[in-house]
Amino acid sequence: MSVRGATLLAAAVAGALTLSSCGSGDDSGGAGSGGGSGKRHEIVLSNNYMGNEWRPQMVNVAKFVAGSADYRDKVKLDVRISDATPAAQIQSLQSVIRKKPDAIMIDAASATALNPTLEQACKAGILVFSFDQVVTAPCAYKLPQDYEAQATDAVNWLGTQLKGKGKILMDTGLPGIPLSETYVKVWKKVLAEKYPGIEVVGTFSSQYAPGPELQGVSAQLARNPKIDGILSGAYVASDIKALKQAGRPMVPMTGLDFNGGQKQCATEKLKCFFIGAPAFVSGMAIERIVKVLDGGQQPKQEVYFDTNYVSEAGQIDFPHTQKLETLKAGENYYPDGADSLVTPISFGAHDITAADVLGK
């Protein structure tokens, strides 16, 4: 009885898996044959995290661009999402490499951990293109954002706003990830060198999530009767909320370019600086990959200088390295759009809408 039970179970499991695999096999088979006739480039997007608001928008933009009129016939995009660990992404990459696609575009779980695997991919003749969180593997194309420049511009803006004097709160981000380490390092250095009159009276860890940022800032506000600015790499909307809840006056704030914070800063005329971290960088990556696959030229490393945003033109009075724009409704923020939108939505010749980005 038990023997039969176990066998049946195993058979069922095997059957179910095989069935579903057949289904997907048909899928890819169909696509493969399409690729054979239409010469579509097979590109695999390797992503490792979906827990915040940025990554899903990044994935959606990639899907949009791959499906747009210009690329529909050139690109077949597969999206692979693994768990948020290097080991999981390595494993996922290995099954990708076995299939030998034309290119792998990767938002990496670690700058270095995937290098051995990506070198294998290169050796197998696969084009490797990394963006957002780029890797250091020499064979990979890289489209990084300049974290140091972003951080420097942000802290210079705050220093200018405060005229080099005051008490501020600083975000330590998510302990353990390179972005946070760079931000904190640059901020501390610039503050010490250029703005000795600015004192960091409290730190908090935003963990790049609205909840912890709100809790962290609130806790520090309760303990510090006077705060003149907030130096954060995450959610301005949470900072505003914390200040309002504590009944405090608004102070200059920095954060990432999420629509929610931008709406509030624009409508309430607050002093805000938004670090540009557009989700459409995935679309830019696809464009560049296709260019290379079609025989075009692309530098191995192309630093993508983001556009940062400030609430008002009058606030631009500091040495900056990156592009800088003031907030304009409908252009780089959306008064009726969702708070979680990463702005601006569209780039280049594309006409990407909020609905596309949000995958509706």
């Binding site: 609205p210 709100l214 303990r223 909320k241």
Partner: protein, 340 residues
């Protein structure tokens, strides 16, 4: 004649509150702003999130289980609420429905534990995974320009009523209710009995499965509600919103003096545990520790807290027990499970 409740339970609760008070005093001595009304209110709000997340955890632990699905149910509470509310459902109704569905998911946990006899850690881990999968399948991003969280939830989490935030009042009322449930009601007795010894409870005419189902259902509802107020407080929802509360909810229960094996502990102890943890994480940054040092201290203080709140009560009980068990050794399991 009235000494029906074992005194050691109160002892551990008291020592948990004492630890919290000591930490608070240390923090205040270090930075006087710590005792300000604003800060205390803030701490109460933060503690209430842990308190609600740990409410169900307390009931489940007392009944001899554990609920690892709490963080995902919290995420469910926030995300599903925003999903329904932005879809046009009235805020109050959406909140009620989310909590109800949370309870139903809790029932699924309960069914696995009570009927399929799956170890609680595993069952709740798997159900948490399924909830996570469901949330991922929702697409996560809401497209409306409206606030994703209904006004009712926002106001409950942010507004004040008299000296305290609304959410703190709610927590107080709930704590009194749960305290009564555990100490005075027949249902509470059954939870303790099941946690202390399932077989004894069953043979004493207690419907063990029903007790477990109820505990997990309440845990699901409480976690979903915690997610609702957390979303209301943040004004936003996201997948990882509940992650910090897995650790915190269990730590609050054990720092509060409950036995992780079930059978004794109180919700007031958990309340003390939630406050202790909140005060601790709020005060550590005052000492200008790095994030790394902070983590180390946090871990050590939790161990210390558990030791303080449990060693007092438990050691006492153990000594007392040993004093009289020993002359007559307990029957071994083998005597009873004798196969015919």
């Amino acid at each position: 004649m009235t000494r029906l409740r074992a005194p050691r339970i109160h002892l551990s609760t008291v020592s948990a509150f004492a630890l919290c008070a000591v930490l608070f005093v240390i923090a205040t001595l270090h930075a006087s702003g710590f005792a300000s009304g604003d800060n205390v209110r803030q701490l109460l709000v933060f503690a209430s999130f842990v308190g609600f997340a740990a409410l169900g955890q307390t009931l489940v632990v007392l009944s001899g289980g554990m609920d690892l699905s709490v963080p995902w149910l919290m995420a469910f509470g926030g995300i599903q609420l925003s999903h329904w509310a932005t879809g046009g459902m009235p805020g109050g109704a959406a909140i009620a429905l989310v909590v109800l569905v949370g309870a139903l998911i809790g029932v699924v946990n309960g069914v696995g534990v009570a009927f399929l006899r799956i170890p609680p850690i595993i069952m709740t881990l798997a159900v948490g995974g399924l909830v996570q999968a469901y949330l991922l399948s929702l697409g996560l991003l809401d497209s409306s320009g409206k606030s994703p969280v209904p006004a009712a939830a926002v106001s409950a989490a942010s507004d004040r009523l008299g000296p305290l935030p609304i959410v703190a009042w709610v927590w107080l009322v709930v704590a009194v209710a749960v305290g009564l449930l555990l100490s005075r009601s027949a249902a509470g007795r059954r939870i303790y009995a099941v946690g202390a010894n399932e077989e004894v409870a069953r043979l004493s005419g207690i419907d063990v499965a029903r007790v477990r189902l109820a505990a997990y259902a309440l845990s699901g509802a409480a976690a979903a509600f915690a997610g609702v107020i957390l979303a209301g407080y943040v004004g936003n929802t996201y997948l990882d919103i509940g992650q910090p509360y897995l650790f915190a909810s269990i730590a609050a229960v054990v720092v509060g003096g409950a036995s992780i094996l079930g059978g004794h502990g109180t919700y007031w102890g958990t309340v003390a545990g939630a406050l202790t943890l909140t005060v601790l994480s709020a005060m550590l940054p005052l000492f200008h520790l790095s994030d790394a040092g902070l983590k180390v201290v946090y871990g050590v203080v939790i161990l210390l807290g558990v030791w303080l709140s449990q060693s007092g009560g438990e050691l006492l009980a153990r000594v007392r027990r040993r004093a009289t068990i020993s002359p007559e050794p307990p029957h071994s399991p083998e005597v009873t499970t004798s196969a015919p």
